[in-house]
């Protein structure tokens, strides 16, 4: 059945968990493009025959193939665009450096799209407030308390807080730190918010 492979790509994304990026299905993409090429060629032949020999009974199959072509285009675009949205979400979740295992699942063009996106976002943030700049990827949650208790999940070296004191972030150590300083580190998985 036509468009089966294209549907499979969509299902692959639907099956994967919210926000997760499965490996780029280069094979699947190629198969859909091949199907499109062959459908198009068959149509070219039939259109010529219909015109020259007046074989109007070919028209329904020409129309069918055209519909399949459009469907394949639509499915592919949906597959690719949905992946872009997941990649975009990664910038907001992890920051501008993606974990290696995620990058591994991206094709070269996706990596490039990500690079352009984060540059665009960075210039936008820098230009806020007449050039003053504001990092809107911070402050994701309304501030509930000024300081929070955090536990260090892995060694992260030294952290300097605003009043000059230096904290050593050693694995399993617990600290009482200003919330705004910890946000990014919590998202990156370095610190864990300990709720008492």
């Amino acid at each position: 059945m036509f468009c089966e492979k294209a549907m499979e790509l969509i299902r692959e994304l639907q099956r994967s968990n919210e926000g997760q990026l499965p490996a780029f299905n280069e094979d699947g993409l190629r198969q859909v493009l091949q199907e499109m090429e062959s459908l198009y060629e068959q149509n070219q032949t039939d259109v010529n025959e219909a015109k020259s020999d007046g074989r109007s009974e070919l028209i329904p199959s020409i129309k069918l193939r055209h519909c399949c072509l459009l469907r394949n285009q639509r499915c592919l675009s949906a597959y690719l665009y949905d992946r872009l949205l997941r990649i975009r979400a990664l910038r907001w979740e992890y920051g501008s450096v993606l974990p290696a295992n995620v990058r591994f699942h991206m094709c070269a063009e996706e990596v490039q799209w990500f690079s352009h996106y984060k540059k665009s976002l960075a210039s936008f943030m820098r230009s806020l407030g007449g050039g003053e700049g504001l990092d809107i990827t911070q402050d994701m949650k309304p501030p509930k308390s000024l300081y929070i208790q955090v536990r260090c999940l892995k060694d992260h070296g030294e952290l300097e807080i605003d009043d000059g004191t230096v904290i050593l972030l050693k694995k399993n150590s617990q600290h009482f730190l200003p919330r705004w300083k910890c946000e990014q580190l919590i998202r990156q998985g370095v610190l864990e918010h300990v709720m008492s």
Binding site: L29, Y40, S77, R88, E110, L121, E132, P143
Partner: protein, 223 residues
């Protein structure tokens, strides 16, 4: 509020501006814009003057905070206040950016086709961002798939491919200025259109499309 910390708390820093607001009024304006943006299905008019003023205010408050003695209990409260305002501002800008990305071809189209005197939907920075997002996405789709497709399928009409915001979604609102004779369109064929009067202070749940102009004019506040 921040009057306690700022030296000339009753007048906005930039005296050359026409609207002079107290910091409290400015923050109230920010919160209104924030709520409207959060709850409306489509992108609202841009309020870059509010954004700029709030950022100036934040800088001013941070500077004042530096001067306060360390360990002073008041410092904590003011720090909290700065964090809260910064959260609202960031959330507001994020809300806008999300809608710009979600509806990018429509947003750009609307901005391009607006009249000379009409207020702009996007700030210059947002406009640049939207254009870059469009170009980036189009280039990507072309490079990965479209250029490998048959000749008649190598372009994609973004305006058709990307869904438009759903203006018929329902929103909660509170009436700030009394409105008379608001026409409510029927939703189904067997309904008829009817008019309502919106009393000041009353709260309603209505289709966004019906009251969209009232949100822009400030007559209602989305909640």
């Amino acid at each position: 509020m921040s009057d306690a910390l700022s030296d000339d708390g009753s007048v906005n820093q930039d005296d050359s501006q026409e609207d002079v607001m107290t910091p409290a009024e400015l923050i109230a304006k920010l919160e209104e814009a924030w709520l409207n943006e959060k709850f409306s299905p489509e992108l609202q008019e841009n309020k870059s003057e509010v954004v700029e003023c709030v950022m100036e205010q934040l800088t001013h408050m941070e500077e004042n905070l530096q001067r306060v003695k360390k360990g002073d209990a008041k410092a904590c409260i003011h720090r909290m206040e700065i964090d809260r305002i910064r959260f609202v501002l960031s959330s507001y800008l994020r809300s806008r950016l999300q809608k710009i990305e979600k509806f990018f071809p429509h947003v750009l189209e609307k901005e391009k086709s607006r009249g000379e005197g009409d207020p702009s939907l996007l700030s210059p920075e947002e406009f640049a961002f939207a254009k870059e997002y469009y170009a980036n996405t189009e280039t990507y789709l072309k490079a990965v798939a479209l250029k490998r497709m048959p000749p008649n399928l190598q372009t994609m009409d973004m305006l058709k491919a990307v869904p438009e915001p759903c203006l018929d979604s329902f929103v909660f609102l509170r009436v700030k200025e009394r409105q008379e004779n608001i026409l409510v369109e029927p939703e189904t064929d067997d309904q008829r259109e009817y008019v309502v009067d919106l009393e000041e202070g009353s709260q309603h749940l209505m289709r966004y499309r019906t009251i969209a102009p009232l949100v822009s004019s400030g007559a209602v506040q989305l909640i």
